[in-house]
Structures are given as C-alpha cells and as structure tokens.
Amino acid sequence: MFRFLIRRVIGALVILLVISAVTFFLFYAIPRDPARMACGKVCDAELLEQVRVNLGIADPMPVQYWHWLQGIFVGRDYTGIGHCNAPCLGYSFTNSEPVFETIKTDLPTTISLALGAAFFFLIIGVGAGMIAAVKQGTWMDKTASSLSLLGSSLQIYFVGYIAMFFLVQQLGVLDPPSYTPFTENPGAWVSGLLLPWLVLSIIFTANYTRMTRSQLVEQLSEDYVRTARAKGLSGRNVFFRFAWRGAMGPIVTIFGIDMGTLIGGAIITESTFSLQGLGTRAVRAVTDSDLPMLLGVTVVAATAIVFANILVDLVYALIDPRIRLA
C-alpha cells in the first residue's frame, strides 16, 4: 500500500511537470508579447526591457521555466516587487495579484460546485439505478432508463439557461446563482449554488443510473450472489453486501473521472451561471495572455484530476480485495 502510494505520487509529479512544461512552452507559440501589452502606449526600448525584467520574462525560456519551478518549492525574487514566498506561482501579468492567492479565492467555488453536484447526482443516479435493477422490466425501470437517456443527451448551457429562465426569472423558486463561502453563511452557500447543482445533476445522473442498473443486473446473476441466497441470507442483505459491493467498483472509477471533469472542466458551468471559479479564471487568462495565471490554473486543475485518480485506485482496492496495490 505504502509503496503503491509513493510510486503513484512520483508518477503524478512527473505528469504535472510535463503538463506545466507543455503549457509553458505552448504559451510562447502565441505571437503576442506580454511585455509590450503591459508597457502601455508610451513605450520605448529601455522601458520595454525594464518591464520584461519586472515580469520575469527577460531570461531565455528554459531559465524562466526553471525559475517558475523554483518558485513553487522555495519561492523566488522579483525585481521591483520583492520576494514571493513558496508556493509561489508568480504574479498575474494583468493585475499584478499573486496567482496563488487568486486561485485560493477561486478554488472553493469550483470545488463547491463539484461536490454539491456530486452529492445530488450520486444519490439520484445511483438510487434510480438500484430501483431500476431491482424492478427490472417494470414501468419504473423503463421510466428510469428513458429519463437517463434523455438526461445524457442534454448540455449544461442548454439546460442551464432554460432552468434559469423558468425557475429563477419566471417562477422565482430558486435564487440566481451566486457564491457565498460555506463558512460565512451555509444557507446562502446552498441557495446560491442549488440551481447549478441541480442542472449539473440532470446531466450527470443519467450516467450513474445506467451504470448502476447494468452493473447490478450483472452482479445479481453472479454465482456468488446465488450462494449468498443459498446460505439463507435475506434479500436485502444479499443485495447490499454482495451485489452492490461488486457493482461499486466501476461506479467509483467513473466518479473519479467525473470529479476531475467537474474541477478541471468547470469552464462551461461557471460561465453559464456567471460564477467566478477556476474555469472562468482560465478563460480570462488565455484571452489576456496571462502566463502565470494560466500556468497556475492549469497545474491546480491537473493536480485535482491526477490525485482524484489515485484516490479512485485506493478506494477500488478497498472494495475489491483481489486488487493488489503494488
């Protein structure tokens, strides 16, 4: 277990290194000069050079990348601004704010969105899938299957706007999307995010209903489930402790991937609901040619995805003792 963790963490770090390097060098493929943009209208060669030094982009690219890496682990010095403490992801080119602090304020929005949505789509999706599996072939099964097909063919920006129009503007049953930190006001946190959560659930639930149903149907016909019944265990016991146990693995795997998608791919959700999170931040960083911000957001999102996957593997091993973590 321990060796597995060490190996996976080292692997994750290598992946993150590669992602950051690719992002970094790709950025310079864009034919734009951040220094010229920062320099303003009255700009001569001398001033431009000074801006380059201040932004930390005067050095050759590999040296810059090295400085960026150094910043994360030991911090780095900026001429004119001073020392930036580790973990330092640099300063934004556009508003000179420290990138790390900006991400720290944006991340809770994105995570709240993901976790809240997960809460709803797991309960609804898995619940509906279980009912469909137990009541195979009945109207309940058919309803769940049809609804999940419908749900999986919808898109956030479609459902999102329709829901906002009807539920917020016309009927007024839900609050317009907004983010209040949970620690500040839990009630406002829920009411502000309820609409995005529900819309995200509609999209994601479908997958879990279908997955849960098919996995359970398969497990319920397994020999060991029959053995459990032959031992005289009750139907409920057999269902949850045997069939559901076996069905859980693939669902956990998909959940890990979805959590990565929700955190790393929050762009559409956040822009649909005008929430300031990592996704909207990333879009702005690209349009503004804000290299430090872009790198920072990319690396944080990638970290979330990579570690969600390690977590999934750990949980999978807990569920199924046949999986050896080595």
């Binding site: 020999d223 029959r226 031992k231 045997f242």
Partner: protein, 345 residues
C-alpha cells in the same frame, strides 16, 4: 433401500419447472418424482440441460420467481417447500438444507474472507456471537482439511487453491449441520486426486452427521463411488431410477446404456474408440414428441407402431426401481446379453 412404510425425508412429486422466455416456455423439468431417505445419497445423472441443476435450485427456492412457474410437490421432512414464503425458505436455506456449487471460485464472494462467509451463515441461523461464529468457522475449516485453519480463515477465496476453495464451500454448506445437502457437480472443476479427496470428505462428513445428499453429476464414475440410489434424467424427465447396483449393472434404458458406453474404463481396449451417444440434448423449448430420447435412440425400430415418436413411455416404478422405455423386458435382456458377450470377446 428406500423406505416405503414411512414418510421419506425428502419427497418430490410430479415436479414441473417451466421458464417463460421470449421464445416460449422452456420445460426444464417436466414431471419428476423421487424420494430420499435420511442419511442416503441420491445420484442424479444426466447431460447438460437435462434439468438436474434446475430441480435442485427449485428445492432451495433459488429460481427466478418472476420468470419461473413451479408445479408439483416438494416435501422436506413433511414441510411443503413450493408454497413456502421467501422468509420461511430463508430460515431453511443454509440451515436445514444447503448446497455446494460447481465453480467454487465464482460461487464464493470475492469481497469477503472465507471465514466471514462461513461465519455469517452460522450467525444467521444460530444467532451466535461474532467470536463464536469465527471459532466455528475455524473448526469447520479444520474439519474439511484446510491446513492452518486459524490463519487461513482470514484469507480471501482467491488466495485459496481450487481444491481448498471447494473444501471451504463444503465447510460453508455444513456449518449448520444441514440434514439435506445438495452437491451440484462439486468435483467437476477439480483434478482427479483432489476430486477423490473431496469425495472421501463428503462420505466421511455424511457418516458423521447423517446428512442426506443429492449428488448431481454427469460422471457415472462419481456416482459409482458415492450414491446409494441413482436417478437418470433426460430432457427434464426421469428415464431410469433404482439402486446404484441396479442402474449400473443392469441398466434398462437405452440412454443409460449410451451413458455407460461412452464412459472410459481401465479394461477398455485403447484402440477401440469410445461410443458417444449420437446427436445432442433435446431443445426444451420444443421437446421431441413421445419419448424425448427417441431422435437419438438406436432402438426405436424394435418398438412396434412407431410408438417411441408418438407416446410418452410411462415410468413404471416398482420398489423404487423403474425406467421409462417402450422396449419390452425381453428386448432389453437380449441387448444386455449381447453386450456382455461382445465384452468378453
């Protein structure tokens, strides 16, 4: 051997198990009757799809209730099982009647330790504490011959060898001292030495506990080893039954002859090929008319009037011995005499 004067321990009367499928009704078992006395072993022989396993799943009530229609009577110690509620059956399963399945790896839960799987049966039916149940599991593992049972009790099935898994299955089935044990081809997936060990184990345990056993197999060698009585099934019906000696020494049904003829033996000359039964098992969706074996039977011409294809032969049981075939007793005796003659040459 079957007692006639008193109620047998297990009595199956005219059992019908029909499944409804998209293509129609599958008559997996179609009018089967047999008795089993206490401490006796009944061997049920037949090809795949002859209804052996379905019969026994029906006894335990493990069939898919939604898709299956059952008819007839199954009396276990005087208790009617076909009309019993699921809750009543839960109390009997694993307790009074238990089952050993063929593929122990697939039949044991991969998610729970062997010890836990044995212990939970015991706890369910006796209400024992966790510690007591665990001690019982260790004891059962020791009894079925698992080395270091106090350590292996915490292993998962995938950490056991094939033979050990089957032993663990047996331990699980016997943990509540069931009076009826159904063994569904428990040795098919095992190599011969392990197979022999498992058979010996079952015989020992039967002597110890006085368990009645239904042993399902397609292997007549295994039957010769363990059974008291034999029931030969074909196409969901019983075609022949009797004591082991009767069925193996003086078989009456052409299907049984076929089974015996397709079995290798040590005195069988190596250059003479085995005699397989031609054709394949009948479709139970649309079974052959008359005698279900007639399309594969080599003796249909000997029966006058093409009766084999039109009329279902009656299973004439006298003192537990009977067969369902239109051949006359003389015709059968002639065949057996011919066979004995050809064997000697």
């Amino acid at each position: 051997m079957t007692s006639t004067d008193q109620q047998p321990f297990l009595s199956v009367r005219d059992l019908k198990v029909h499944f409804s499928t998209e293509d129609g009704i599958v008559k997996a078992v179609d009018g089967l009757s047999f008795d089993l006395a206490k401490g006796q072993t009944l061997g049920i022989v037949g090809e795949s799809g002859s209804g052996k396993s379905v019969t026994n799943l029906a006894i335990l009530g493990l069939h898919d209730r939604k898709r299956t229609s059952l008819d007839g009577e199954i009396l276990l110690d005087g208790k009617e099982l076909l009309t019993a509620t699921e809750r009543e059956l839960e109390k009997l399963r694993g307790n009074k009647m238990a089952m050993i399945f063929q593929d122990a790896l697939a039949s044991l839960s991969p998610y729970h330790t062997v010890g836990r799987q044995i212990a939970e049966t015991y706890r369910k039916h006796t209400g024992a504490s966790k510690q007591e149940a665990r001690a019982r599991a260790v004891e059962m593992l020791r009894r079925v011959g698992i080395p270091q049972p106090d350590i292996r009790v915490d292993d998962y099935p995938h950490q056991f060898s094939g033979g050990m898994r089957q032993r663990a299955m047996i331990a699980m089935a016997l943990v509540c001292d069931p009076e009826l044990l159904i063994a569904d081809e428990p040795t098919t997936a095992l190599d011969v030495t392990v197979q022999a060990q498992i058979m010996d184990l079952l015989k020992d345990l039967q002597q110890e506990f006085g368990t009645s056993i239904i042993f399902i197999t397609h292997d007549l060698g295994v039957i010769a080893d363990i059974a008291d009585d034999v029931l030969v099934m074909y196409g969901g019906r019983c075609v022949e039954r009797g004591t082991k000696k009767e069925v193996l020494r003086t078989p009456r049904h052409p299907y049984t002859w076929g089974l015996l003829g397709s079995m290798p033996s040590l005195d069988h000359p190596v250059d003479v090929p085995l005699n397989p039964i031609p054709g394949s098992p009948p479709s139970l969706l649309n079974p052959p008319s008359g005698c279900r074996f007639h399309p594969r039977c080599a003796f249909t011409e000997k029966v006058a009037g093409g009766l084999c294809a039109t009329e279902r032969p009656v299973l004439d049981v006298v003192d537990g011995r009977g067969s369902a075939c239109h051949l006359t007793a003389e015709q059968r005796a002639d065949f057996l005499a011919d066979l004995a003659g050809s064997r000697q040459n």
